[in-house]
Amino acid sequence: MLNLNGEKKKKIGAWLLLSMIGMLVLLPFTPAVVMAAEEKAAEAAAEGDAEPEKAKDVFYKGPGEFGIVSGPPAKEMVYPDDYGSYGDFQSRTIIWIANQQHLYFGSFVLAVPMFVWVMELIGILQYGKDRKAGKKFDDLAHEMMKISLTAYSVTAILGGILIFSFLALYPGFFRYLSGIFRPVMHIYALLFILESGVLYVYYYGWDAMNDGDGDWKWSHLALGTMLNAVGIVLMVMANTWVSFMMSPAGVDAQGRFLGDIWKVMHNPLMVPIVIHRILGNAAFGGGVVAAYAAFKFLAAKNIEEKGHYDWMSYIAMFMGILALIPLPFAGYWLMREIYAYRQQMGITLMGGLLAWVFIMQATMIATLFITVNYYLFQAMGRMPGSERYHRYFKYMLAILVVSTIAWLTPHTLVMTPAELKAMGGAQHPVVGNYGVMSAKNTAINTMITTTCVCFIIYQRCNFNVKVPWAWKGNLFLFFLVFGAEANIVFLGIYGYFIPANVRIGLSVPQVASTLTVLFIGVWMNVKMLKGAESVGEIRWGRMSVRGAYALFMLAVAFTWTMAVMGYLRSSVRLHWHVNEILRDNSPWAFTNPLGYAGNINSFNVLLFWTMLLFVFWLSALAGKGKEKVAAEAAAEAAGSAVPAGSH
């Protein structure tokens, strides 16, 4: 293929290619620049003729924030003229399913390149030290990319289906929204083409550009960077539509576009939603890849293959969890921004109509954490030396279960009159204590702390600590964890004795205690493991079947949580298409009850995984011939030492 000999030539070629692609990236923006100039000219011309009508922005409220009206007002939607339907079926449910599927695949295709990028980078860095390990990471990245490639076309197809269902079912709404976003629509389309181009070059150039840790490999990584950059820009643009629907800006109270598309895109909730979604995508992608690897692990014919997929599933799971941990904080931030934008909206979420959804969310998060711990317990089964810690597992499990029970106890109990009579009142004197926020914060922080401890044990379980101050370190860790937990419980109990406004503030030191354990604890542990003596290598491929099933559980929980939170985010608009601008006048303007949402979510998740199975099957077909090679490589890799940096 590329037969460029000589270091210099290689370098020049690599940089040339890179700069060319860099130019390509800028290409989609040229029409925008041209158009902006045109618009300015048109404005100037208009000014000459007559005073253009000015109107006030709904969100940007500085003294000079008047925009020139440059779009029609939001038409009042009329049923059935502006809506379509297929018989008695809820149109919005069709849109819901189409959206959710597109989003799942979209998230997956955007998340996988992020992983692949990290994996490839680790591979290149490792290559210099340990060729085998480097190749192992590189192969992993390559395999992940292969899955993503098939999923990419499915995403495009689903996007098409989504647009067609919008046109068929919500033509009025779609016309309005596309009218607002007209200035950037073509950029979006062009970026999509660019994304495809970069993706194909990136994937098909993988082997050709693979020279270990040479310049071609770095160029390839740069392509990966670009792929991610384009992907994120694409996601941000798609997100602006959604956040505009929640918190419109850049239009006036009648919904007329005020000429500044940046204000429309940079609406109040755009940044927190984007951050939340990037993290969510990463966690979700980790979950999906872990499930894929777990499936391959189960289906593997020999121990080498098993070892490879065991290792892959661990890495993917770990990356997913890494993204999951900051996710609640991004969620807090989003929630705060929502409160700042419209208090109304925040209250609807937390205390009003949608409050029960948060009970469901609590269930999902409890499931996630218990599953992660259980997986780690199972994963330790393949690590020699972990037997020392087996007897602690049951206590950790007990703590998790007690926390779960406290967290799941609802404040409002469902009961029959006879039960009410037996209980002597609407609140139970004992269990009632667990229905309040104080107990719930304590429970979740305890769960995260326990997970941290579990991970610390996982890190060290096949090593004997050799540093001379090991006993001090151990005592330090003990007091760190014990102190944090004591503090969390103390703050939880203390919360019962103080007024509500102070109690809300207690959650901050509680979370801070948890984070202390997470960061200082893991850091201390890593320090202590320096120069530690290994008890035995990790026996990849020897993980129990239950661990694989735990990974499936994790993946389903991720997908389901995404679905339920999507329902929440979308429902908070209540009866508005575009919040406070475009009212939903269709017969489906109501907010569906949680049970209905649960059914649709389960259906969506099932549909997604069925389609994903098809995707996996396709990629397996494509790779049939190469499988042998891959298996050999995996065999090689499984036999080799796995660097400590991998976990």
Binding site: K61, R342, T412, F590, S602
Partner: protein, 426 residues
């Protein structure tokens, strides 16, 4: 375990596992309490001339709480939150937990002390606060979101203003953090998301005013004084007027006093100068309120009723309104508490205005011109002196037949009814 198994059986197993998990999740969501959030009905403009203050109050209650039994809703552990969403932030009952905005509690706990003052009472104080003057100065160019310049003069106008322009005056300590109480957390009520129409806002204010004392109602006048236009005038996209509901007749503002008197059958008991059908009524006092109302207000009997907390009127106009809306508040000496109590359901705001204006315009001269005179049992005595004495016991006719629609009023030479049959009451 799964060493020698084909991919097919593994796919099947994994699929089974997926379905189990998803089934459990879905079942759990279905098991949790189900709440369906219905879209609020689009605002329907109401023909103000066809609404009574009572109806406005009820409408206001419904807008605020979404129910006519907010305490019941509260006791069920739910939030009584209507379209206006007020109770999310304002506290209307002690049982409620809302402290984001000033509370609206109108309860007196101890007779000696007024611990909780109603919003109605407080509103009058607010416009007098020096901070209100400051706000006026600060916002002389109009508040930036609503464009309104604060200019409320009465408590009622203040209440109206705060709905259209929450930033015009922020109660001390309730502003957004860091704005030094110049920015209110409250949304502008006539704009999305709440988007009440003018009449609905008047209804909410009506509810606040009438909550502890129905005679404090001034909402409509306040609105009209504040905006300097007629309520409902600019709601051109008002829904077509609802079909006239079947039920008791309602006095409308478009009708003449004569028509109202006929419709409400006032003439069965009262004589009213200038009304052709009302020349014979002899159960209630002669309605020359231009003369009577002022006298009655001053009378010791009325003052006693005020002290007893039954009557509340301070002006002749209020007195007349009170006498129609709440006939039991004060009984003219010499008469029995016989007047029907349901007029408050039968008058529209403007219909009442028409009748009250007319009654206040009548005085002794008008009565004389029409050849009418007071009944013998009226304390003031006849306008024309001297007059025949009449047995008061007979004057108070008790004979009320509930079934007959016709009235056969026979009048004796001395003006005493011998038998009278009232229009059927429903």
């Amino acid at each position: 375990m799964a060493k020698k198994k084909g991919a097919g059986i593994i796919v099947f197993k994994v699929a089974l596992w997926y379905c189990t998990i998803l089934g459990i999740f879905a079942a759990y969501t279905n098991w949790l309490p189900q709440i369906r959030g219905d879209a609020p009905e689009a605002a329907v403009a109401i023909d103000v001339s066809a609404v009574t203050p009572e109806m406005l109050q009820e409408m206001g209650e419904k807008i605020i709480y979404g129910s006519h039994d907010p305490l019941g809703v509260l006791a069920r552990g739910e939030g009584p939150i209507g379209k206006g969403q007020c109770p999310l932030c304002h506290r209307f009952f002690m049982e409620q937990k809302a402290d984001r905005c000033p509370n609206m509690i109108a309860l007196k706990t101890e007779p000696q002390k007024l611990l909780q003052v109603s919003e109605e009472a407080r509103s009058h104080e607010r416009v007098k606060e020096p901070r209100y003057e400051e706000a006026k100065k600060r916002l002389a160019d109009g508040e930036k979101d609503s464009g309104i310049v604060p200019h409320a003069e009465t408590g009622g106008q203040y209440l109206i203003e705060s709905e259209y322009c929450p930033n015009c005056f922020v109660v001390e300590g309730f502003g957004l953090k860091g704005t030094n109480d110049t920015v209110s957390p409250m949304p502008i009520i006539n704009k999305p998301p709440i988007q009440l129409v003018d009449t609905e806002i008047v209804a909410v204010v009506s509810y606040l005013q009438m909550r502890d004392d129905p005679s404090k109602w001034t909402a409509k006048d306040d609105w009209e004084a504040y905006f300097g236009e007629e309520l409902g005038a600019n709601e051109e996209d008002a829904a077509p007027a609802e079909e006239k509901p079947a039920g008791p007749p309602v006095a409308l503002g478009s009708e003449s006093p004569e028509e109202i008197v006929t419709k409400m059958t006032c003439y069965a008991c009262h004589k009213i100068p200038g009304i052709s059908v009302a020349k014979t009524g002899a159960i209630g006092p002669l309605l020359i309120e231009g003369t009577n109302s002022a006298n009655r207000l001053k009378s010791p009997e009325y003052q006693a009723a005020v002290k007893a907390g039954k009557a509340h009127a301070t002006t002749p106009r209020e007195y007349v309104i009170e006498s129609i809306m709440d006939p039991g508040a004060f009984i003219v000496p010499g008469f029995a508490d016989d007047m029907m109590k349901d007029f408050k359901h039968k008058f529209t705001v403007s219909g009442l205005d028409v009748l009250v204006d007319y009654l206040l315009a009548q005085d002794e001269a008008a009565a004389l011109a029409d050849g009418m005179d007071r009944l013998p049992n009226e304390k003031e005595g006849p306008i024309k002196k001297p007059e025949a004495k009449v047995d008061t016991g007979e004057a108070v006719a008790k004979n009320k037949s509930m079934s007959d629609d016709k009235q056969t009023v026979k009048v004796s030479s001395s003006g005493v009814i011998e038998s009278s049959t009232f229009i059927g009451l429903n």
